[in-house]
Symmetry: C2
Subunit: 156 residues, 2 copies
């Protein structure tokens, strides 16, 4: 299957073609399908925690550095402030974060994780890590390391 769809959950990216007879597929195809498979594993691992990968990413950012406002968090995540509103609405409904007015500038919201939110981040991150370990378990240790090294080098 040459996945072309952009938004389907199983196929949400552009693709360039592969020839199914050729045992050596284009790199873009390999990267895409590897990401797709791992993404499915991670999604399955996160589902019991009531999160998807993007929500976890938001939680991790909020759990990390002290962020003065929603907008700062949105900038860190590369999403629009209006999109951040929707994320926070969802996460607040789930009882994982709370919004409080900033002490000095009441236009701003300080977003904090609840105790449940912190527990969820911990558990969900562990689950995602485990999914990654499982995915990589098909490879020998040295090959695993080479894969990571090569990808890091490409992104340098």
């Amino acid at each position: 299957m040459l996945i072309v769809s952009r938004t389907d959950d199983q196929a949400n990216c552009k693709v360039i073609p592969m020839s199914s007879t050729d045992p050596t597929r284009p790199l873009y195809y390999l990267l895409k399908h590897a990401q797709l498979r791992l993404g499915e594993l991670i999604a399955a691992a996160l589902a019991p925690h009531g999160l998807d990968g993007r929500e976890l990413a938001v939680l991790v950012v909020l759990d990390g550095d002290e962020l003065a406002s929603q907008q700062q968090a949105a900038a860190r995540l590369g999403i629009d402030r209006t999109t951040m509103v929707a994320f926070l609405d969802t996460l607040e409904d789930k009882g994982l974060v709370v919004r409080r007015p900033h002490a000095e500038d009441r236009r701003k919201n300080v977003v904090e994780l609840t105790a449940t939110g912190r527990d969820t981040v911990r558990a969900a991150t562990a689950a995602a890590d485990e999914a990654e370990r499982q995915f990589l378990s098909q490879l020998t240790n040295p090959v695993r390391q080479q894969l990571s090294d090569a990808l890091h080098a490409l992104l340098r």
Copy 2:
């Protein structure tokens, strides 16, 4: 930047977080960003040919095996038949393909590449291959091979 956006051209996939201080990023992050970078290179390489990666994928499928109908081609590409209609409208407007009624079953369309279409596929594929070569040129030959091998193993 922890890219979370799903549809932005520079960031059209789900993500799980990375810690920017940690030199070892999660595999999902690495795969995603490698794909993103390569995708940009490929897009730039294809632009002079008036195509994006997905249109090239459609053309390659149409250029390959003899496909009896639009729907068969759509199935090969993992897209809906209604989406295929839109792709073919675009490609036909560009003069790269033609639709003809099937000789034996007049409900079906046989889709064929024009001479221009065939030339374009050849040139665009070469351009995409060159972009991939350029992207991989940062790696030594053995590391390149290890990357490819590891990804193939993961998708086995």
